[in-house]
């Protein structure tokens, strides 16, 4: 049997499997499988190295090489893509063929433009960051080094399954797989209790989201009868629902179909660290910095965005899903920005900025611009990876020091030029300084928020957040990289305990050390691998700007603006906001008269609920094309933020630890401290979820012991009690037993005699 199944899995030619592939979607070349499986191979090889006790940098080179091949395979896939989505099956995975319904989830991959778009930067960044890590993890050569790269490879494999999977179950596989790798890598320094706790927290919080995803999966299967994209997205029922949604006729769509999106959304919130499930991401910075860069900034956390983009039609048919996504994204963006402003640990600041930027992406998805969201994902991936890697280089060089009060003017330390330059480019992008990639991608979202009816509030909040982002970004830059040169070593290379960034006594410490360098500590400048990677990423971040101007296409029947737009529009995420298309192209003014007569007012509350086929108000901001207006507005807001950072953190700063901001912060009373402590959200969760559950667990434990088991023991006692009553009869005197027997026989005979008598009488 095994032989049969195996042959059915690997050896049979593709054509023979044709019945599994629905009509309309072709099968692709088998070499596409290299992309995920090379990463898996890297993981396996590293496992073998670990078992063999390898103590060289071989694991790193293996991983980099295999991931590079994987990246080139992705490139080849992108080049060879002819515009028609296709699937590639590795082998049968979970198949249940019932008589009335079948459940089919194969280990197969679905390739369309969205997949390619995502995989390009996933594999590319993974290759670069693996190269970076080969130097960064140098201090741990041996089993730990292998362990790191094994998990790294496994992560890329899982991420590939997530992005390329042909069905929701594959997506779920990748989803949990990246969660596992995240768990393993956050807990890389497993002797540190904080790292272990952070790893655990990440996995468990993610699991809450995963539950939503799983339920969404079940509901999608139950409602549409399939979980395969190739079937699902061409499902007539779904298409009909989308048409209905476009005219706002949500009452024609079954509630169950609308629930799918709401459930999937929970999964996305978990993985992409959105409010209220964002608490795990800052803690996840306990992991090695390359991990933070790759997993917790560039790739894994964008999985939620990918999920919503991939299932955009499903989200469209849900009346409330997209508005909720938009609002949650906005709230997250704002909240994370406020916390980020008050942190002192530069890696944590980057973490909160990641959460905040993810909030932007969600808001973008929510205000009907999957393109904006996806474009921001791409730009963000580059510049945030760059920022993290720069922070990592600092941490690596300064023995784990991350406190911005203890570092200053690194720019002038020999060998730190590339790092500083990279940091500057990254900060410019993140702050949304005009003509950077971050500027264009953020503007797209902001503009869409303003043009989408009812979402202008979102736009204003996001605009404010943009200013705050610029401020805290350059706060880091001005404190750490420029100004008077000063640095203190961290206490341990491994042990970069973030608590040091908080406590009062460390403030005191900093003052004591004064301006001289601590104990003759010499930072070691990054080596060639780190510098190369930083240089490449710096260039890439700048080059990403170019993507805003190239790659537009008219093949899809309408004009797409740029590369990301093309890639998204050609995929299942294809959706063009009527508002945006309208404003941008400026050529359908006649439609303004189109009254939204089938759209009641309640639906206008927010774009997502509005009648998407109808244009209710002129899509203008200050009387201009919103995109053009936004160029100026956001540029100005960003500039204000940078200026504030300049004033408070650079101008006139003499030492590393003190700046004007300290005085300003005092004016706000306890608020900065609250923000620094993340608004006590963790404590809130502890109080309302963890502690009650733990109390419930203890109660249940006692209930189990006393009541459930108690009843059993009581039942077990019954014979004993009965025995206590009849024990005297067992006197041990032989004749007593015999007498009992005789008595018993006598009674039996009496019964028989009576029965015979009565029976005879009748």
């Amino acid at each position: 049997m095994i032989a049969q199944t195996l042959s059915g899995t690997f050896l049979q030619p593709t054509l023979a499997m044709a019945p599994d592939v629905p009509a309309g979607i072709g099968t692709g070349p088998k070499w596409v499988l290299l992309i995920p499986f090379l990463a898996a191979l890297a993981a396996c090889l590293n496992g073998v190295y670990a078992a063999m006790g390898n103590k060289t940098r071989l694991p790193a080179w293996t991983t980099v090489a295999l991931l590079a091949v994987s990246f080139f395979a992705t490139l080849a896939m992108a080049m060879g893509f002819d515009g028609n989505a296709y699937t590639v099956k590795a082998f049968d995975w979970i198949q249940v063929h019932g008589e009335s319904a079948s459940f089919i989830a194969n280990f197969s991959f679905y390739v369309d433009t969205l997949t390619i778009y995502w995989m390009l930067f996933v594999t590319g960044l993974a290759t670069l960051i693996a190269l970076y890590a080969s130097e960064y993890m140098n201090h741990d050569l041996g089993v730990s080094y292998c362990r790191f790269f094994a998990a790294f490879g496994l992560f890329v494999f899982s991420m590939a399954c997530l992005v390329m999977g042909d069905n929701l179950v594959m997506l779920y596989l990748g989803w949990e797989g990246v969660g596992l790798c995240s768990y393993l890598l956050i807990g890389y320094f497993y002797k540190k209790p904080e790292a272990v706790a952070a790893a655990k927290k990440a996995f468990i919080v993610n699991r809450v989201g995963d539950l939503g995803l799983a339920l969404g999966l079940y509901l999608a299967y139950v409602h549409f009868g399939t979980v395969e994209y190739s079937v699902l997205f061409s499902d007539e029922k779904l298409l009909a629902y989308v048409e209905a949604a476009k005219v706002g006729a949500f009452d024609q769509i079954p509630a169950m179909a609308q629930w799918i999106a709401l459930l999937l959304m929970v999964g996305a919130f978990g993985k992409s660290a959105q409010f209220p499930l964002y608490v795990w991401l800052p803690d996840a910075m306990e992991g090695p910095t390359p991990v933070s860069a790759l997993i917790h900034a560039a790739t894994m956390v964008t999985a939620g965005v990918y999920l919503i983009a991939r299932f955009y039609p499903v989200f469209l048919i849900s009346e409330h899903a997209l508005p909720i996504v938009a609002w949650i994204g906005t709230i997250t963006a704002f909240l994370a920005a406020t916390i980020g402003m008050a942190q002192f640990d530069i890696k944590r600041i980057m973490a909160y900025s990641t959460v905040s930027q993810l909030g932007y992406m969600f808001a973008g998805l929510g205000v009907l611009t999957p393109t904006g969201g996806a474009y921001h994902v791409l730009t963000h991936a580059f510049f945030k990876a760059l920022l993290f890697l720069c922070c990592g280089a600092v941490m690596h060089g300064f023995a784990g020091q991350l406190d911005l009060r203890k570092l200053s003017g690194i720019r002038r330390v020999p060998g730190w030029g590339i790092v500083s330059l990279g940091m500057l480019v990254g900060c410019l992008n993140l702050a949304g300084v005009p003509f950077t990639a971050g500027y264009f991608s953020k503007d797209t979202i902001l503009a869409e928020a303003f043009v989408t009816p009812g979402a202008s509030m979102i736009g204003w909040i996001l605009l404010l957040t943009a200013g705050m982002t610029a401020y805290y970004t350059f706060r880091v830059f001005f404190r750490v990289f420029v100004g008077p040169t000063h640095y203190e070593a961290g206490d341990d290379h491994h042990d970069h305990d973030d608590d040091h960034a908080h406590g009062e006594e460390h403030h005191h410490d900093a003052g004591e050390h004064g301006d001289h360098h601590a104990d003759g500590f010499h930072p070691h400048a990054p080596g060639w691998a780190i510098n190369t990677v930083l240089a490449v990423l710096t260039v890439a971040s700048l080059a990403a700007t170019g993507l805003y101007f190239v790659g537009g296409s008219k093949d899809l029947g309408y004009k797409t603006k740029h590369y990301a737009d093309t890639m998204v529009s050609a995929s299942t995420a294809s959706y063009h906001s009527p508002y945006s298309a309208h404003a941008f192209h400026d050529d359908h003014h006649g439609d303004d008269d189109h009254s939204g007569d089938h759209a009641d007012d309640a639906h206008k509350a927010l774009a997502g609920v509005g009648p998407r086929g109808a244009i209710d108000e002129p899509l203008m901001l200050f009387g201009k094309d919103p995109h053009k207006v936004m160029y100026y507005v956001s540029g100005i807001v960003g500039a204000i933020g940078i200026a504030l950072a300049w004033v408070f953190h650079y101008a006139g700063r003499k030492t590393a630890g003190e700046c004007r901001m300290d005085g300003v912060a005092r004016l706000f009373g306890p608020i900065p401290r609250w923000a620094e402590n993340k608004w006590y959200v963790d404590e809130l969760y502890d109080a309302i979820i963890r502690i009650p559950l733990r109390v419930a667990s203890h109660l249940m434990h006692w209930f189990d012991k006393l009541v459930v088991d108690g009843l059993v023991n009581l039942a077990g006692m019954m014979p004993r009690v009965f025995g206590w009553f009849v024990r005297p009869s067992q006197s041990g005197v032989l004749q007593g037993y015999a007498a009992g027997m005789v008595g018993g026989v006598a009674i039996l005979l009496v019964v028989i005699v009576l029965a015979v008598r009565l029976g005879g009488g009748s």
Binding site: A739, V742, G743, V753, V756
Partner: protein, 335 residues
């Protein structure tokens, strides 16, 4: 049942019997044993009289014959029951065993009356001869030597019955019930079939037939009785014919009922043997296994070295000490 014995007599018997046993069972210093015996005798006598009185009347009413069981039965029954009463009422175990032999022999008499000669004699040999002798040995082995000064005084175990009243009443309640059960349906029982042919078993025993015929000179050297496995009518007990085959010629002839020898009858032993070995071979196997196991068990038990209990050890040591002391005292005096 009323035809055989009146329920009133039966119940009276039970009451008298239980009273009798309650009195007759041994207890220290009891003077009422003779009274108990009298009660028991009267009880059994009453029943016997009732049976004898009713037997003829019963015969009239039933076509299947009737009448009482005859004088010998009453004699044997009286001996058997009397002896068995003494088995349980006699305080000395040796006498009990001897009375038990008497019971056995009387029972054997009844077996003979019932036409079961083999069993009767087997019983005498095995029971009275072997088992009871073993009992006697054990009684002698296991009876504690009476301690000094109390000779002639019976041990508590033998001299006093345990709750005689309860035991007797319980026993006779059961007696009443069994009697009612057994005699209640006696009216409707029908004795064995009228076509019963005791000699039919001879058909299965051609060897015996050969032998008898040869002794009577009814059969030549080269002839033999046709075997059942040869097919055909071999020996017809009801028609009283025997088919004989000439082994050399292969011809057959029939001995008619006129020539049927008087000695050719199937006795109790023939029928029992056939029944035992043909119809119940498994019984024999099981009996064999039981006896083997009993032998093994008895061997194992007998081999076991008995550890005396502490208290007993001390007592025996004391006793032994006393004896040796007694023995040593004179010698010590001599020294």
């Amino acid at each position: 049942m009323e035809n055989l014995i009146s329920p009133i007599i039966l119940y009276t018997f039970c009451v008298l019997g239980s009273a009798g046993f309650a009195l007759a069972l041994p207890r220290r210093g009891s003077k009422l044993v003779p009274l108990g015996m009298i009660l028991l005798g009267s009880a059994f006598g009453m029943v016997a009289v009732s049976f004898i009185w009713r037997a003829d009347r019963f015969a009239d009413e039933h076509i299947n014959g009737g009448g009482g069981p005859g004088l010998f039965f009453y004699v044997f029954a009286a001996i058997a029951l009397g002896a068995s009463i003494r088995v349980i009422t006699h305080p000395r175990p040796v006498y009990s065993a001897l009375y038990f032999i008497m019971t056995i022999i009387a029972s054997c008499g009844m077996y003979v009356l019932l036409g079961a000669e083999f069993v009767a004699f087997a019983l005498v040999i095995i029971y009275a001869g072997a088992i009871l002798i073993t009992y006697l040995f054990v009684i002698m082995l296991a009876t504690q030597a009476p301690t000094g000064g109390q000779e002639g005084m019976l041990d508590e175990t033998d001299a006093v019955a345990r709750e005689p009243v309860v035991g007797s009443v319980l026993g006779f309640v059961l007696m009443g019930l069994i009697s009612v059960m057994m005699l209640g349906g006696i009216d409707s029982v029908r004795p064995g079939a009228s076509d019963f042919e005791p000699d039919a078993v001879l058909a299965n025993l051609p060897g015996k037939v050969d032998k008898v015929l040869a002794r009577e000179d009814l059969i030549a050297e080269n002839e033999r009785v046709l075997r059942a496995e040869d097919g055909g009518g071999v020996l017809d007990a009801s028609a009283r014919t025997i088919t004989i085959e000439n082994t050399e010629l292969g011809t057959t002839r029939v001995i008619g009922s006129d020539n049927w020898p008087d000695e050719l009858v199937a006795g109790n032993l023939d029928r029992l043997g056939w029944n035992l070995l043909h119809d119940h071979p498994m019984t024999i196997e099981i009996a064999g296994v039981i006896l083997l196991m009993a032998m093994l068990g008895a061997t194992v038990l007998a081999r076991k070295h008995v550890e005396l209990e502490e208290a007993l050890k001390a007592e025996q040591a004391k006793r032994l000490g006393e004896t040796t002391l007694k023995q040593q005292q004179p010698s010590g005096g001599a020294a």
